[in-house]
């Protein structure tokens, strides 16, 4: 066994990668209220970054700026697309940005109601995203929708039901199915397990962990739950009052926090 498992294929060599997302000195103000300030980082293919911090620290603001849903006062977000072309997310034309959001990116909202169409059937919710990305063949769309409902553990007999008849956990899984069906490269998630009870959370986390690894997705996940961050993210940024106060490998930041605020955050929970 040893010989075969010691082989290190070149495709796993991280030193030759180029970033998927390059974020440079991003600052967002709401009037004179600070949203987020001076945030810079690179995100690489296959990397999952967690953003943690107390309520009001600017996590959602930052995520929305990264995903082009809010315009920052300063700084830039550059995305490298499938062809290797660099796209300045805030300078590019609106149609181009919308196309990116439909084909390359996905955004999972904390409240599934913000990410689903409540008046459309479950199957329709998943199929609609595929059609927006250009799919036309009805049979293929329906089978992809079924496939994704299965992957996200939604009872297939519910395909024609509206999400308003689903539980919170099912709605959240449907939102994930709708987002991932198009095979995005980059997923933004705002508190994906927030508002769900603990047993439902565990199931969702397990699902997300599997999908991210299987699809080799890159993701940026905002959460206030350090256990979620530990389970899902490779790297962590800790925010306080709009600023990044600490960053690093997830387990290092949680087990050997250097900043007084991170130490407070970690010591406030039972088992981060």
């Amino acid at each position: 066994m040893s010989a075969q498992t010691m082989q290190q294929p070149a495709r796993n060599d991280v030193s030759t990668d180029t970033p998927l997302l390059t974020v440079d000195r991003l600052t967002k103000l709401y009037g004179n209220q600070l949203g987020c300030a001076d945030v810079s980082f690179d995100l690489y293919p296959g990397e999952v970054m967690g953003i943690v911090g107390e309520s009001g620290s600017g996590k959602t603001t930052l995520l929305n700026c990264l995903a082009g849903r809010l315009s920052p006062e300063e700084g830039s977000v550059v995305y490298t697309d499938r062809t290797g072309e660099e796209v300045d997310v805030h300078a590019v034309s609106e149609p181009r940005r919308r196309m990116l959001m439909r084909t390359d990116w996905a955004f999972v909202h904390q409240n599934p109601r913000d990410g689903l169409r409540m008046g459309v059937s479950a199957g329709g919710n998943v199929g609609e995203r595929l059609m927006a990305a250009g799919a036309r063949h009805y049979g293929k769309i329906r089978s992809a929708a079924l496939d994704w409902m299965e992957k996200t553990e939604i009872d297939l007999t519910r395909i024609d039901d509206r999400p308003s008849t689903f539980s919170g956990g099912m709605q959240q899984r449907l939102q994930i199915a709708r987002n991932l069906v198009t095979g995005p490269r980059l997923v933004f998630m705002d508190e994906p397990t927030g508002g769900l009870d603990v047993s439902v959370q565990a199931r969702l986390l397990d699902l997300l962990r599997g999908l991210v690894a299987e699809m080799g997705l890159s993701a940026i996940i905002v959460t206030h739950d350090l256990a979620v961050a530990r389970l899902l993210s490779h790297r962590l940024m800790v925010m306080r009052r709009g600023k990044v106060v600490e960053r690093g490998l997830t387990d290092q930041v949680l087990d050997d926090p250097q900043h007084d605020y991170t130490q407070l955050l970690v010591s406030s929970v039972l088992q981060p």
């Binding site: 498992t5 010691m6 796993n12 991280v14 199931r203 986390l205 397990d206 690894a213 790297r235 290092q252």
Partner: protein
Amino acid sequence: MQDMLKLNNVAKSFTLYNQSGIQIPVFEGLSLSVEKGECVALAGPSGMGKSTLMRMIYGNYLCPAGAIDIRHRDTWVDIASADPRVVLDIRRWTLGYISQFLRVVPRVSALDVVAEPLVGRGMKPDEAREHAAVMLGRLNLPESLWHLAPATFSGGEQQRVNIARGFVARYPVMLLDEPTASLDKANREAVLTLIEEAKSDGVAVVGIFHDAETREAVCTREFLMSDFKKAA
């Protein structure tokens, strides 16, 4: 023999900001090289920083001073200053670590916990599970437990899952923090055999073994941590 790990002038202390900024000095001026095929025992009384040093080598604790060089993909990489992505790549291919306790993940079966390092290297899940089954078998974990999540397992059962996970993939460098502490004699023997096999494959091992018998059985030399104690 070839060096695999070189620690040069490493120091560590902790600052507890929420306890009025108290400083806990651990060690300083620590240097250590580990070659292929040897097993170095970190020795010294409780609180000397044995586990801390091991976590620093793994990149789990920050290394604020000195260098921790490891031979990775045929070049030397300093873990103390490496990018998180590089540390993860080192952990995937070069550096294994068996901690004292298993960190359980909800809903993931023992078999999948053990198979994960191989899947992370790109092996097909079914094939990885076959390797995992062999390893769990060698550690005498009852087959009835393989498909259950280890959260409800006994301490010794969890630890055997942890050890199987550490040995299922071959790493050129391995860190073992009291791997046999919660095991009975038969299972301890199984672990010692795994360590011996690794050594003869050329794996460089750093271990912490509290009982002298185990230590003497597998370790080729001792490294005394108390020599680097930092004064408070």
